[in-house]
């Protein structure tokens, strides 16, 4: 009985004509989740065809369990399709519907073949449902994983992008911070800053927090840690770019920034830094236009 059951399903997949393929594609395209903006018709067709062939050969040894070795090529191919869709920005529904659209044509065929025998139809339908559901779940899982990989990669890129240490002058470094500060970022910021202090022999580092949207106790604590670490290395820190709201928040929170030089904007901080390193800037009056 079990063998007979999978034979029928297998025969459906192994039939040489393209009827199953055509119906499948028609359902995918009519499902209200049109995929043409995600994938071209020709590509979709070749993907579906390849998948049907793979499933057919996977079932050649009467395998119906998706976890068996016979199904490895099918899963690999599904994974590939899913990953490609995730990167192209398809929705999870669109991706899952790609597989679930196969149900209708299969069920139609089962009904035509064994529709007269209710018991058998139920058995066959159950087998087909198991197979397609398992494939659908797998494709959704890979989709999710691919999206998470994208997110993780973006986070890493942001972390690198958002911590530049620039040299403003001989012995003066600036660290323009952008975005929310959390522990992981502070750690990176601290390390890059200290490393640059060693490399350049800078005496003064200006931490500009114009791009930091909010300051809470945690962020303030991170800032103080960075300043202290720089001081331990023998460099002074100036915090600049403190907006009025942030100044209010810092005082309301009771954060003690008394030991740190703070300036309202970067240019004030830079002037202080120049003065401390012994430079001064003059307007060259000789060059004034006559």
């Amino acid at each position: 009985m079990a063998e007979k059951q999978s034979n029928l399903l297998r025969d459906i997949f192994q039939r040489p004509d393209d009827q199953l393929l055509n119906e499948w594609i028609a359902i995918i395209n009519s499902g209200g989740n049109a995929q043409e903006n995600i994938i071209r018709e020709a590509d979709l067709r070749s993907q579906c065809k390849e998948l049907i062939t793979l499933i057919g050969s996977a079932m050649a040894h009467n395998a119906v369990d998706i976890r068996s070795n016979d199904f490895v090529p099918v899963l690999d191919y599904l994974g590939e399709i899913s990953r490609a869709r995730a990167l192209k920005g398809a929705t999870p529904t669109q991706t899952a519907m790609f597989v679930y659209s196969l149900k209708r044509p299969i069920f139609d065929r089962l009904r035509n073949e064994v529709g007269k025998e209710a018991g058998k139809l139920a058995d066959e339908s159950w087998a087909a449902t198991l197979l397609i559901d398992a494939m659908g779940l797998y494709i959704a899982e890979v989709f999710q994983k691919a999206r998470e990989e994208v997110i993780i990669r973006q986070q890493e890129e942001m972390l690198e992008l958002s911590t530049p240490v620039v040299k403003l002058w001989e012995g003066v470094l600036a660290l323009p911070m952008i975005g929310t500060l959390d522990s992981a970022r502070t750690q990176v910021v601290m390390q890059t800053l200290l490393q640059r202090i060693v490399e350049t022999g800078a005496e003064i580092a200006i931490i500009d927090i114009t791009g930091v949207p909010t300051v809470d106790t945690l962020v303030a604590q991170h800032l103080i840690k960075t300043v202290t670490a720089a001081r331990l290395m023998g460099a002074d820190c100036i915090i600049s770019g403190i907006r009025p709201q942030i100044a209010q928040t810092i005082v309301h929170l009771g954060v003690d920034l008394a030991d740190v030089t703070t300036k309202a904007n970067l240019s004030d901080a830079f002037t202080v830094a120049l003065r401390r390193t012994g430079y001064s800037v003059h307007k060259n009056s000789a060059n004034k236009p006559a």
Binding site: L194, E203, T228, R231, L232, M233, G234
Partner: protein
């Protein structure tokens, strides 16, 4: 028993820590340094920790202690050449060494000591002048 050498440079003392600073060595250094300050009548102590790669809270406290003791004996302490990793560790341990002056390298440290010596002696001269 290994010992950390204390070098005399004019009115300053130079201590370069080039071995792993374990606890007994640290205590020994504290002892030797305070003796040396009184013996040579030193006005400044420069501690180079650029080869120090690991610290714990004990070493951190010891640095603070040395600075405190030197100040009582009228000598300024400057710690120079702290590695980034060491600085981060000390901050994470909650030790900001508030009483200790820091400099990036020996040259800067010497400048700091000379400046503070010059200013304190200048003040002394001013008082005598008046």
């Amino acid at each position: 028993m290994e010992k950390i050498p204390i070098l005399r440079m004019g009115r300053f003392l130079l201590v370069t820590i080039q071995v792993d600073l374990h606890d007994r060595l640290a205590m020994q250094l504290q002892e030797d340094l305070t003796n040396a300050i009184t013996k040579y009548n030193a006005r400044g102590v420069l501690i180079d920790i650029s080869s120090l790669e690991m610290v714990d809270s004990f070493i951190g406290r010891m640095l603070a202690n040395i600075a405190g003791m030197s100040r009582i004996l009228d000598a300024q302490t400057v710690v120079v050449g702290m590695q980034p990793a060491v600085a981060i560790t000390l901050v994470e341990l909650g030790m900001s060494l508030p009483g200790v002056r820091m400099a990036l390298n020996v040259e800067r440290g010497m400048q700091l000591l000379q400046q503070s010596l010059a200013s304190s002696e200048g003040a002394l001269l001013d008082e005598n002048h008046q």
